[in-house]
């Protein structure tokens, strides 16, 4: 359905829950980008920003939605993989630390947070 290789110009969207929101600095904590497996994101796949946001909000009552450019993720040395969940989420993708390591630790989650933009906030 989509190109296996996600283009550098595609945005990756991630929902943020209340407990991961840094209210003092009004941004997600970098803990948002720490997962057991890869960090799940939805590639835009040619959709508009509002479509991406609406679809995420239909799944969970996120406090915020942020987006990060695929180029920026690659720039810090992380990997972006297109891993669709058929039929639930054809846009599903994951950010991995590297080819060998899946979990993001230390500086990479922090850098991804710094590069991300909040596009929806309650």
């Amino acid at each position: 359905m989509f190109n296996e290789n996600i283009d550098d110009n595609e945005f990756l969207f991630r929902g943020v829950v209340n407990v991961n929101w840094d209210f003092e600095n009004d941004r997600p904590s970098s803990a948002t980008f720490k997962d057991s497996f890869g960090v799940s994101v939805d590639r835009d796949g040619g959709r508009s920003q509002s479509e991406c946001v609406s679809e995420l909000l239909s799944k969970k009552n996120f406090i915020a939605i942020c987006k990060v450019l695929t180029y920026d993720v690659r720039e810090i040395g992380a990997i972006v993989k297109y891993l669709p969940i058929i039929p639930d989420n054809v846009y599903h993708s994951e950010i991995h630390d590297s080819i060998e390591v899946i979990q993001l630790k230390g500086k990479k989650p922090n850098k991804i947070r710094d590069k991300s933009l909040t596009v929806f906030k309650k």
């Binding site: 991961n20 840094d22 003092e24 997962d35």
Partner: protein
């Protein structure tokens, strides 16, 4: 009248002498044991935070029992997070991790911010500015640190014994 004036003058001179002696005694005590004069008499331990006379309690983030209480409430709340609490198949927060984090924050001068991660760990976070931050991820059996101090980055595993030193160095 004249005699009375002389007596009055003499008394006044005696009173001045006593005041002068008292000043010498205070000055002498101050030079030998300054804390006794300085703290119980001049200052109170219960001065409001940020008092102009206090240098010890002028940082509202330090020794904040209120913030410690809030962090303990946060940890209590994290105990109740079920699987998939973040909408991305996250794990519940490990109970051992919660206990370790509680032990850590109970001994800190400065209270951090606490955030759960999708892998069941807790992130302890100190943030001054973009060039000075400290993130410690608490796993069940280890700690992982990411620090930026004056713009210089460092990340590594660390032991529980290293923790007080790392946090103290960050706040210096």
């Amino acid at each position: 009248m004249r005699n009375r004036n002389i007596i009055t003058d003499t008394r006044k001179g005696y009173s001045d002498l006593l005041k002068y002696a008292a000043l010498i005694l205070i000055a002498d005590s101050t030079s030998q044991i300054p804390r006794i004069i300085e703290e119980p008499i001049i200052f109170s331990y219960h001065k409001p935070v940020g008092s102009q006379n206090s240098t010890r309690f002028n940082d509202s983030n330090r020794y904040s029992l209120e913030k410690l209480k809030l962090n303990k409430q946060t940890l209590f709340h994290l105990k109740n997070l079920k699987s998939n609490w973040n909408g991305y198949n996250s794990k519940p927060i490990n109970e051992e991790v919660i206990q370790i984090t509680e032990d850590i924050i109970s001994q800190l001068d400065y209270q951090p911010k606490l955030f759960p991660t999708g892998r069941g760990t807790i992130q302890i976070e100190f943030f001054k500015d973009e060039n000075n931050l400290l993130e410690i991820e608490v796993f069940e059996k280890e700690l992982f640190m990411y620090k930026i101090k004056n713009g210089e980055e460092m990340e590594r595993n660390m032991s529980f014994d290293d923790l007080p030193k790392v946090i103290t160095e960050f706040h210096v």
